[in-house]
Amino acid sequence: MTPRGRIGAWLAMIAIVGGSALAADPPPVARPPAAPSPALEARLKNLETELRCLVCQNQTLADSNADLAGDLRREVRELALAGRNDAEIRDYLVARYGDFVLYDPPLKRTTWLLWFGPFVLLLGGGVVWWQVLQRRQRASASAPTHDSAAEARARALLEDEPPASSPARDATARAAPRRKR
């Protein structure tokens, strides 16, 4: 799936409240064999970049020089020429090697956290942002002059008079900026 397609699917999934069981895959439709062509090559290349070379250190089927990768590429090509579509080719490999062979993790119960997590985190972040802002508004409304000692000192300095009290030294004091920017 293209990134765009996947984003669309992502959003669509979120819109569905309460997961419904995914429908079982229908049996493969009998299709005429495909002819070798640049379109087929492009399709194969696309597929191969989403499939994992099982014996490599994290490489796609497209980029690997390993023997098994070559065998699997040949297998994928034969399946495509026999008329199978992308989903069927993926299912073929998953039936033999498991989900590990897919770089695009399928959406199933065990990967809900993976696919929805970032979105949930973003929503959570938005909530946090809102709450932080609210808290700041409330805090400033309720304690307008908690820095009165510092304020008095600042005023005194600006008016060139000696300060009335010694400077406060608590950890929450805002240090007066050396240069106003």
Binding site: C56, A62, V101, Y103, D104, L122, G125, V128
Partner: protein, 663 residues
């Protein structure tokens, strides 16, 4: 003799680090000047010792001392000198020594450039760095000794991995580690502030230049790694979301959030707890990355050979350092009061939103990287999480961050009026929108994703221009030059960095949108058309190299009948290891690359008269990706050159202030 000297230097460095870690910290607690004063000389001595150890290892490599196990495993006498030296950090042990060198180097820098810090703070910062050093030196000495001897010595080395025999190997790891490890300074400042109980705007001001420099180095290091992968791996890719790549990217995302958070803390005294947490997180992610790469829990081409003992050691180290600092944070942050308040629409609120988006992006990358591990640990099966996932999740998250990047710098601190903002930005928005909708037609093909990517980039360019324009217009100075000079370097650093992000986005969008890839079988003399270019394959000739045998192909690139470039992709077989490497040939231009690499000979034996599989890629604007990254880094360096950080200026100001106070 020399390796033993290096080994001894490491042992002494460990003792010095332990002293540096404990004594100044105690001194700061008791306000004992002598104990605190030990920090600076200890840091410098530690750096000198680790540098000696590093030099000893490099010497062993340069002089082909195959009685050192590390040299025998990673080098070869036929290897050119600069690669023999780069091989010093080509292995797990050597790269750890580089880590230690960078760490002690940063400590030394802090000891030199921190005259203006209060003694207690400087002592605590250097102590924390000393303690981290202790961990790494223990790790080196007990599980990963780079000076282990191989007796009897090997007659010849096993050679550096051919993939690493490249200028990229000379620059990428040192620069990357400068950044990666440099976040330890921000981390140390954060812990020192938590321990000392003083967490305010001045702390942020001291912390900020260190963090920005580390971030700039990390940006450069990652960009170099990406560029190196692009031209070396032969398939034209520049980012694979490999776990090790992610391990460097996560600290970068957090570091970016950190430098922006530090800005708010420095200027407004707000976000103090967030900033400290981000500083702890950034370095923690660096350490986590170190664990992931060296423990064997993930699979990656970049991962080092693994050993369970090492994994356990690093994990224990992680538990102590990260767990300890997060525990300290939980305990102390609760007592930090609230900083200043700010309105719903204000630069603070924008920067907060920006930070949250960056942290969510980092968390998503972390989730994707570790998810296979999570499922496997829970016996829920084995899956792979690769580029399709990361691309689908990361790019949408980036969009709001980039949009905010345009709005934030123009927004006032504390309270901004939306109508005023809208007035300032509507021109930028219009220009960006219209250009983004029209440009794809000009470039060849319209697609919503390309238009959206271009919109984000143009938005950044336009808002940067608007920002600068309004600064110039609003200035009370006379000439244009005076108006420009009135702005501090940090302002221009920010403009440059944001502009760099725009360049980066242009590169990514256009390459992903318009790249063309063809895998063709070509006979000698055969031509093929790819895009507007014609490629003619003229066969392959054998050619020897310093430590390899090569088959050099010749491919002519023509456009409209004119010969533009003759490219020479190679297939090399390295003598010592027998490994085959594909060397791509690239014709680079501002508007894009023509990238050719050899596949396999048809008929299997590579006889020069035969046909070959040839891979041809057209990569429009791909170099803008790294150009953008370098401009970002440059922005960071420019920002740090700001007057307020310059020591000479500060001393003069200090003298003036002292003179004024004395009157």
């Amino acid at each position: 003799m020399i390796p033993e000297l290096g080994h001894f230097a490491l042992i002494v460095a460990l003792l010095v680090a332990a002293t540096q870690g404990i004594v100044p910290m105690l001194g700061a607690a008791r306000n004992h000047r002598r104990m605190m004063a030990l920090a600076r000389p200890a840091a410098r001595m530690q750096f000198a010792l680790v540098a000696i150890a590093f030099a000893c290892l490099a010497w062993s490599f340069a002089s082909n001392d195959f009685s050192v196990q590390n040299v025998a495993a990673n080098s070869n006498s036929e290897l050119p000198l600069h690669y023999r030296i780069a091989a010093t950090w080509g292995s797990h042990e050597g790269s750890l020594l580089l880590w230690a060198l960078m760490l002690t180097g940063w400590s030394c820098a802090v000891s030199v450039f921190s005259r203006n810090l209060p003694d207690a703070l400087a002592a605590r910062v250097l102590s924390v760095m000393g303690l981290i050093s202790v961990g790494f030196l223990l790790f080196l000495l007990f599980t990963s000794n780079p000076f282990a001897r191989l007796l009897p010595p090997a007659p010849e080395g096993r050679d550096l991995n051919p993939l690493l025999q490249d200028p990229g190997m000379v620059f990428h790891p040192p620069l990357l580690y400068m950044g990666y490890v440099g976040f330890s300074v921000a981390f140390a400042f954060a812990l020192a502030a938590l321990i000392g109980g003083r967490l305010d705007a001045t702390w942020a001001r001291w912390s900020r230049p260190w963090t920005t420099v580390a971030w700039a180095f990390l940006t450069t290091g990652i960009a170099l790694g990406s560029g190196w992968a692009y031209y070396t791996l032969g398939w034209g890719g520049w980012w694979f979301w490999d776990p090790v790549e992610n391990a460097s990217f996560m600290p970068w995302l957090t570091g970016t959030a950190l430098i922006h958070s530090l800005a708010v803390t420095e200027k407004r005294g707000a976000f103090r707890s967030w900033t400290v947490l981000l500083a702890i997180l950034a370095f923690s992610l660096s350490l986590l990355g170190t664990f992931l790469v060296r423990s064997g829990v993930i699979t990656s081409v970049h991962a080092f050979a693994t050993d369970p003992a090492r994994g356990v050691f690093i994990l224990a180290f992680l538990a102590i350092v990260i767990g300890g600092s997060l525990a300290l944070f939980a305990w102390r942050a609760a007592s930090v009061g609230l900083g200043g308040s700010f309105a719903l629409v204000s630069r603070e609120s924008m920067l907060l939103a920006n930070n949250i988006v960056l942290v969510v992006a980092m968390a998503s990358v972390l989730l994707g990287t570790l998810y296979p591990l999570f499922l496997d640990a829970l016996d829920l099966g084995k899956i792979s999480v690769g580029p399709p996932y990361f691309d689908a999740v990361f790019y949408p998250l980036l969009a709001p961050a980039v949009f905010l990047m345009g709005v934030g710098p123009i927004t006032r601190w504390n309270r901004a009026a939306v109508p005023e903002l809208a007035a300032r930005l509507k021109w930028a928005l219009a220009v960006a929108l219209v250009s983004a909708l029209l440009l794809p037609f000009v470039l060849g093909r319209w697609s919503p994703l390309i238009a959206f990517g271009l919109f984000l980039a143009l938005w950044l360019f336009a808002t940067t221009a608007v920002n600068l324009w309004q600064r110039i217009k609003g200035s009370h100075r006379g000439t244009l030059w005076a108006r420009l000079a009135a702005n501090p370097a940090s302002y221009y650093g920010m403009l440059l960095a944001h502009f760099g992000v725009g360049l980066f986005i242009v590169g990514v969008t256009l390459v992903k949108g318009y790249e063309i890839e063809r895998d063709v079988r070509l006979d000698v003399g055969q031509r093929v058309d790819v895009g507007p270019y014609e490629f003619a394959f003229l066969g392959v000739t054998p050619a020897p190299g310093p430590n390899y045998r090569a088959l050099v192909g010749t491919v002519e690139v023509r456009r409209n009948g004119q010969l533009i470039e003759t490219l020479h992709p190679e297939k090399r077989v390295y003598n010592a290891s027998g490994q085959t490497m594909t060397i791509a040939a690239i014709d680079t231009a501002v508007s894009g690359d023509r990238y050719v690499s050899l596949g396999e000979p048809v008929g299997g034996d590579g006889a020069s008269a035969g046909a070959w599989g040839v891979r041809i890629y057209l990569k429009p604007f791909v170099d803008w990706i790294w150009l953008g990254a370098f401009v970002m880094a440059l922005g960071g360096f420019v920002a740090v050159s700001d007057r307020r950080y310059r020591l000479a200026v500060r001393r003069r100001l200090g003298a003036l202030a002292g003179a004024a106070a004395g009157e």
